[in-house]
Symmetry: C2
Subunit: 335 residues, 2 copies
């Protein structure tokens, strides 16, 4: 692949927390290709997407250190001599928090603060990229949603990711750490878990199709099914966005939406998958309770990162096809 | 005093976390007066304002249970049979977080979530009033600051208070608990700590005056000293606002600014104190670093709570005079 970062990553020491997970492993593979020395920290938390098969193509080129990022004594050893830290480790379940919010607080808030502390104390010159979520905005009060949109996260996972972002910004503004903040939309593509919708609905849809199960579209007879506006971003585009931001000095201290400003919807995703796999689609009427929790239409304003020279490049059809092909070959490793 | 709540609080079982502190103790005294049965939970955390002298007038009328609110096993015993919980317990230092954010996360986030869990599990019919801070807004993007203003908290204390508010809202929206949310401005008056500006600058100014130390006004020769716009609210008004909100069914699930929409500034406060005490005032030039952290002018839009029938009643002069008189009589207990 072309190195659009002009050698920036060649010889760089890079730490990826959550590097066995979906986005982290795709990032690790790209960084190895760009000539970085990559260390992965991951504890294969059950509610994250950690999977050794994700790094199969680079297993001899990366160092994997199994570790809970709340283990400060150990983590401080690992942040030394790193040029860049991509922080992707997180408790990812959106429903776990309905029963117990402590895993979100522990992994997402305390874990992030522990990592920030280690960077500050052991390697104050490091650059850290924090990956938050579009869920931090909650319901869209206006569309597209720009970075100044109020943040009213609804679920426990999103509340914790939002708090961790505030702490990362705090480490930049008050403690002088070089931090870049991001809020990711619905990222899909190879190497995601497909067992449940917790790890991205688009990926889950592909998994259902490959298991010959119908793809469910939520809705009701008035408004239709699967037609809420959403944006979907192919993981390679997401990786490119993270790499671009980490390479730009002017991104430090700022927050960027990483998503797709051409909105689509779940129906479109399901239909593309159905075209490739002949999967059937079923309509599911929202329960009263589920409808109350539905956050409505969403797509982001990405002009801020566009101005730095990034834009989504992989069309939905191509991205879905790649995902289907990858999972057809490797499905045993993902369910 | 007149019971403007028409007997609502008579016979009610009320739990006040942080009830030995500044606002909590003033609230407890008023509730005893209104005929409530009051239990206080407090652990006299060093960085809170807990002080047994605060409840001297009602010491035979309230039950004090010393407890860290993260102690769920014990706390769950105490929320049973309560009609209302006022949650005021918090780590209050704004500067501690510069060195260590864990006390904010532990006391303010995990403490609040533990209390919410106990209420949900043991007493789902209880009404809980959460007390947040105007610091949750960060810099004012517009004035006055209404409740829909984006929340960009700057310091660790404020970040943690903001996160706890999101968790309290989560318990309302997703888990069905009756929660009322508040964001308090600069509250001053009797029963506050006066050892440091951590517990409110207005109170600290009074303390300095009574120790015959000059009152410092920050600024520089260009813009003047002590002239940033701020609102100050006398503690009795704050207590009235909390009591009104807890008595109104329509307040459940909503967030209210509790402050003063007639802005003043630190110079005005210092001059009133100086009039009563003959304290001197000194001008202090901001350090470059301090100036960067200055959040600028702030005063809240309080029309939302005004619409429920509350407004600030105690003028700044009267409030300051009361504070000075209280501390003249009782200063041994406050430093």
């Amino acid at each position: 692949m072309v190195d659009q970062y002009n050698g920036y990553y060649k010889g760089k020491n890079v730490l990826i927390t959550g590097g066995l997970g979906f986005i982290g492993s795709n990032l690790a593979i790209r960084l190895v290709d760009l000539g970085s020395s990559v260390m992965i920290v991951d504890n294969k938390l059950e509610t994250s997407g950690g999977n050794e098969f994700n790094i199969e193509p680079i297993k001899h080129d990366v160092h994997v250190n199994y570790l809970n990022i709340c283990d400060k004594t150990s983590l401080r050893q690992l942040v030394r001599n790193k040029h860049i830290v991509f922080h992707l480790a997180a408790q990812m379940s959106h429903t776990l928090g309905l029963k117990d919010q402590k895993p979100d607080i522990e992994n997402n808030i305390i874990g992030t603060v522990t990592l920030l502390e280690c960077c500050k104390e052991e390697n104050n010159g490091v650059k850290l990229v924090y990956t938050g979520s579009r869920g931090q905005y909650g319901e869209a009060l206006r569309l597209p949603v720009d970075e100044d949109h109020p943040r009213n996260p609804i679920g426990s996972h999103e509340i914790s990711k939002n708090d961790a972002e505030d702490y990362a910004r705090f480490y930049h503004r008050r403690l002088g750490l070089d931090v870049v903040l991001t809020r990711l939309s619905n990222v899909y593509g190879p190497r995601s878990q497909i067992k449940s919708p917790e790890f991205g609905v688009a990926n889950w849809f592909v998994g259902l199709a490959l298991r010959y199960e119908p793809i469910p579209l939520m809705g009701d007879s008035c408004e239709g099914y699967g037609i809420k506006k959403r944006d979907f971003l192919y993981v390679d585009d997401c990786v490119d966005a993270l790499l671009l931001l980490a390479s730009k000095k002017e991104a430090i201290g700022h927050v960027y939406n990483i998503g797709n400003d051409e909105p689509s919807n779940f129906r479109a995703v399901a239909e593309i998958i159905s075209d490739y796999t002949r999967a059937s689609i079923k309509h599911v009427t929202w329960s009263k309770e589920r409808k109350l929790l539905e956050p409505g239409d969403f797509y982001p304003d990405i002009s801020k990162i566009r101005n730095l020279g990034w834009s989504p490049r992989v069309p939905l059809e191509e991205g879905i096809r790649n995902t289907v092909e990858f999972l057809k070959l490797n499905k045993d490793h993902y369910w």
